[in-house]
Subunit: 272 residues, 2 copies
């Protein structure tokens, strides 16, 4: 946690975005804008947007669709006041032909008139709910990144987008697994209920100590490994599709919206 | 209720669709395929599909997106086994330049390689839940069509699609309004919680006895008029956009899917 992070922990969502836009905050967003949805980000040329949107609709657990920009309009007006998707995320990854080209704190130079931005829900929301219910989350308590694995679960394809589902793992006490399922299911815009609890091998994970992304997390005595659909899934689908240009957030560096976590629908009414 | 309807009340969803496809059943679908999602239908040329999908994403209460076909592929494979959207709905309305051209029991001749089919959730699901909770629904008990009104609530526009929200009204006993809100909120794919309860004038409805669509329903002593977002909203948006060709279901003649009403996500896994 940086001093900057401490300073912004109690700030309003608009103030956090304003600091990010001004270039004064470029670190991860965990713990910021508490109570409001944070999102993963994928920005693609319009030629691929309908297929990508279908991919999200067909795979709502890994890719919960929270907001979609107009083509060429960087203002995400359904997700908050004055959100400019070119500048209001702390760090972006630029992919060309499916490969990471570079990271950057602003995409003003890369944005084009044919771009469409997709905001997809992330796990911060249900993790907070688990913690509030007294279910500890090891990687948060130990300031690590959640362990993520490529599972053997197929996603439902759409156009060039397809692939296996990436899952994130949290070790949950056996007597709280049912609670964890019930609590996270309340947040369909944050991956919803787990896709699997128990034997990692059943979903094609041979070594739980060696995640494909993130840091290993120990499965302590009495804990059950519980697996949630993960927002890295669409990133892998985009890489596999090898489209000419795609922009994502840098992992952990999310878009902070003005949508309350418990909102029935993730849409800020234009008049409100 | 026709004899045909009685015969199909206990049939499996696949059998009902098979009867419809064969032309042996052409009436309304209320009460059929109990326990499974039924959907409204909008089929548009791909040139308008991304904007229409954005319109649905931005207005999830009137337009809850349940399924989207591949472009030119009439098989709605995420919603059930062997659903051919050209033949498996009992009656279709064909619109040209925003005007109703004709109704037809099959669109095999009208379907084109650039068509995209959208299935949108409908109110049958939450109405059944209300009735099971002991909350009577007058228009069902009296075999009428629910009264629908053009409200003064703006939808969030996307491309050529915009307009006021259409709402449906059910009179609910004052001491059950909170229950009705809580119950229907559990079904986000069936319009979710009401958008308004109480004074019709507050949402621009001047005469509750004269609905814009459907049949009038009396507001008995002790009942509160409760308004839900209605699936006629996208139909009005499509008419207003006056796109060259659009196909919808004929009201009441819905698509019966294989998705259980209480499914966490409306997607049939390809392998299941």
């Amino acid at each position: 946690m940086t001093t900057d992070h401490e300073r912004l922990r109690r700030a309003e969502t608009a103030e956090v975005r304003s600091e990010i836009r001004a270039g004064r905050y470029r670190a991860h967003t965990a713990g910021l804008g508490l109570g409001f949805l944070q999102t993963n980000l994928a920005i693609l040329p319009a030629a691929f947007a309908l297929d990508f949107m279908r991919y999200c609709q067909r795979n709502p657990k890994p890719c919960p669709l929270v907001g979609v920009s107009d083509t060429g309009n960087p203002m995400m007006f359904t997700l908050g006041r004055d959100i400019d998707i070119r500048t209001d995320v702390p760090a972006y990854n630029i992919y060309r032909e499916g490969r990471l080209d570079h990271s950057t704190p602003s995409i003003e130079d890369t944005w084009r008139a044919d771009m469409v931005a997709f905001a997809l829900g992330c796990s911060f929301t249900f993790e907070r709910a688990l913690i509030e219910a007294g279910i500890p989350v090891w990687h948060i308590d130990n300031d690590r990144t959640v362990p993520m694995f490529r599972s053997n679960i197929d996603t439902v394809p759409a156009g060039p987008f397809s692939g296996k589902m990436v899952v994130s793992m949290r070790g949950i006490a056996a007597d709280r697994v049912a609670d964890a399922i019930e609590i996270s299911r309340r947040y369909p815009l944050a991956h919803g209920a787990p896709v699997h609890a128990g034997d990692p091998d059943a979903i094609g994970i041979s070594d739980i100590a060696r995640p494909d992304w993130g840091d290993p997390a120990p499965i302590g005595e009495g804990l059950v490994p519980v697996f949630w659909a993960c927002g890295v899934t669409p990133q892998v689908a985009i890489e596999t599709a090898a489209i000419p240009l795609c922009i994502t957030h840098k992992p952990g560096h999310m878009l902070i919206t003005d949508i309350p976590e418990d909102a029935e629908v993730p849409v800020l009414r234009p008049t409100s």
